[in-house]
């Protein structure tokens, strides 16, 4: 036990840190807007991906279920929002109805996918979820005819932005003499969502439910013997993770104003997974770090590698997009072989790795 005075000093430092971070985060979009509005949009997307990664982290990191079709829940949330708030059906419900509906529908999909498959061993579950993700995408792509539901590959356009009464997130306002653009408004909204999701994740992790997830991840048979209904607990993880994805999807639809099946391909699932793995499965801070890194680094590359190549070789040899993907692939392999806990491993992973004494072992 540490002396009380030290704890009090720590908590004062913590409070100061929180205030400073809050001020920095509040000022950030204006600084970014100074460089270019594109950077505010990039930041917004990064936060969206952090939301997604945190949702996937519940499934993969907490409960130990590898989901390779996670983007499907993002898609479901996005389409639920788009169909209920666009000219597609002429429905324009407010976001406080559509976002929860998106979360709910995604959760239902999560349970529908999970119920028949959760008794499968981990790697099979992974492939089935991948198949599920593809099925959802194929349906979105093809449900444009004979009855036009999703508008097929052309996607849904002119989706309503978020608005609360007269306050429209999509358009610029002048507040206290400061021009606050649409993206900056969304930034604050997303930031609030991120804080909420981090809060929920941490609370869940340190709870009876979180311990049950850990138990299932560590040893299912022992978990059952301890009175844990493993099927229920896993379904809960699926549903929770999916609903996070659903909310993120709804926000994505509102912010972009346009969605099409192309935004929900397998690579996106893998990208979200990379974020979780790179940052540190099971560690909320690590996952956010992973999401921000994998969102920003490629953008930085886009602005540096392209021009650099032109300068050096007179033309673009390797597209930044390709470099980005190569980095993803390399990161997955290197992290798993060299630093399996991720950049910022959770306490449990750290223990696991020190117990295991390195990743190499006899042929199983």
């Amino acid at each position: 036990m540490r002396p009380r005075a030290a704890l009090r000093r720590d908590s004062r430092l913590l409070a100061a840190g929180i205030v400073l971070t809050a001020v920095a985060l509040a000022a950030l979009p204006f600084a970014l807007a100074g460089i270019g509005t594109a950077w505010v949009r990039i930041t917004n997307l990064a936060i969206l991906f952090a939301l997604l990664a945190l949702g996937l982290n519940i499934v993969v990191g907490f409960a130990g279920l590898l989901d390779l079709g996670y983007i499907a829940f993002y898609a479901v949330g996005a389409y639920a929002y788009a169909l209920l708030a666009s000219p597609q059906f002429g429905i324009h419900w407010p976001f406080w109805v559509t976002l929860p509906i998106g979360a709910l529908v995604a959760a239902v999909f999560g349970v529908l996918l999970g119920a028949p498959t959760l008794k499968l061993r981990g790697d099979y579950l992974a492939i089935v979820t991948l198949g599920f993700g593809e099925i959802v995408r194929i349906f979105l792509n093809n449900l444009g005819s004979p009855v036009n539901i999703t508008n097929g590959p052309r996607g849904i356009a002119r989706i309503d932005g978020l608005r609360i009464g007269e306050f429209d997130f999509s358009s610029a306002d002048t507040l206290f003499g400061l021009v606050v653009s649409g993206p900056i408004k969304y930034y604050y909204l997303l930031l609030a969502a991120l804080v909420a999701v981090i809060f929920v994740s941490v609370r869940l992790q340190n709870s009876r439910v979180g311990r049950a997830w850990e138990a299932v991840r560590e040893d299912e048979i022992a978990a059952r013997a301890a009175g844990i209904d493993t099927t229920r607990v896993k379904l809960l993880a699926f549903a929770m993770g999916a609903s996070f994805g659903g909310v993120a999807g709804g926000m994505f639809a509102a912010i972009q104003g346009f969605i099409s099946p192309e935004s929900f391909v397998l690579v996106e699932s893998i990208m979200v997974l990379s974020m979780v793995v790179l940052g540190g499965m099971g560690n909320v801070g690590g996952v956010v770090l992973g999401a921000l890194l994998l969102s920003f680094v490629p953008e930085v590359l886009r602005f540096t590698v392209g021009p650099m190549q032109r300068q050096l070789f007179g033309r673009m040899i390797v597209e930044p997009e390709v470099i980005r993907m190569l980095l993803f692939g390399l990161a997955l392999v290197l992290i798993m072989t060299l630093r399996p806990g991720g950049l910022w491993p959770s306490a449990v992973r750290r223990r696991e790795l020190s117990l295991r004494g390195g990743a190499s072992g006899p042929l199983r």
């Binding site: 439910v209 048979i221 059952r224 013997a225 301890a226 009175g227 844990i228 117990l355």
Partner: protein
């Protein structure tokens, strides 16, 4: 100490009699049979475990001990026969339901949550006797906070009881073998079981650890928990059990006090004419 005085109404109170008719019987097995493929593992096995006793289950390798354990704890379902626990049938119960009904177990090849802390292991053991859900976890309302505090306090008490409180914050995987056994027992006790099933708890222990284990089992019983003990270590069985059931090839060949069983000709024959004490050196699964 291991009794939870704050147990709720729906949680079975430790050692409390429920149905007056069989007040003394906690578990009754009636005609349990199980085949694997064509091989008979258990045939029409019946026995009763009385409240508060330590009941031993022994037999040579392949006698059906582990099969019985798996049937009782819901991992497998019997082909025929029923278990009646605390006056209620256990038919078709899945492992977590068995745990909730008040049967806790340890595993022959220790199954701890090796990467979690010792304390967390025991706290997980209380899952069946707590109820906070997602909403409680997120809101952390007063009831949830009280429950969490209670879970932690109970878990710490159990670590004291089993003598491993000093390791509470270490990863379970770093414990010594004997300590891991104790932790498994602590985790099992966390669910406030009426019946504690121990699957070869002394396997792989040295003499000192074995003695300490014996003392632990006896103090568990002193708290009013009934125990079912599968064991190869005859000395432990003979010294700690009140009654012993001997299985051979899926059938009961003897039941009685250790002294009665020890001198039973059928038992001696089953152990190939050797003195049961010699079985102490046997190894392997039942």
């Amino acid at each position: 100490m291991i009794r939870d005085d704050r147990g709720r109404d729906d949680a079975p109170a430790l050692g409390a009699a429920r149905s007056p008719a069989d007040a003394r019987v906690l578990l009754r097995a009636l005609g349990i049979s199980k085949k694997f493929g064509g091989v008979r593992a258990l045939e029409g096995l019946s026995f009763s475990i009385r409240r508060g006793e330590i009941y031993g289950l022994i037999g040579p390798n392949g006698a059906g001990k582990t099969t019985l354990f798996n049937l009782l704890t819901g991992i497998d379902a019997p082909d025929a026969g029923t278990f009646e626990f605390d006056g209620r049938p256990l038919a078709g119960a899945r492992p977590h339901q068995v745990a909730r009904a008040g049967i806790a177990r340890t595993f022959q090849n220790i199954r701890l949550f090796a990467n979690l802390s010792v304390l967390e292991n025991v706290m997980i053991g209380r899952h069946a006797r707590s109820r906070a859900g997602v909403l409680g976890a997120i809101l952390r309302d007063r009831a949830t906070r009280a429950e969490e505090a209670h879970i932690e306090q109970r878990a710490l008490a159990l670590l004291e009881f089993t003598g491993i409180a000093a390791r509470a914050n270490d990863a379970a995987g770093t414990l010594s073998y004997g300590e891991q056994r104790r932790l498994e027992i602590a985790r099992a006790l966390a669910s406030e079981p009426l019946l504690l099933c121990l699957d070869e708890p002394a396997a792989g222990m040295n003499a000192a650890e074995g003695l300490a284990l014996k003392a632990l089992i006896e103090s568990v019983r002193a708290q009013g928990v009934t125990a079912l003990l599968i064991e190869h270590d005859m000395r432990l069985v003979m010294s700690v059990c009140d009654r012993v059931l001997v299985l051979d090839q899926g059938e009961r060949i003897a039941e009685g006090t250790p002294r009665e069983v020890r001198s039973d000709p059928a038992v001696i024959a089953a152990y190939l004419g050797t003195d049961p004490d010699a079985g102490a050196s046997r190894a392997g699964t039942g």
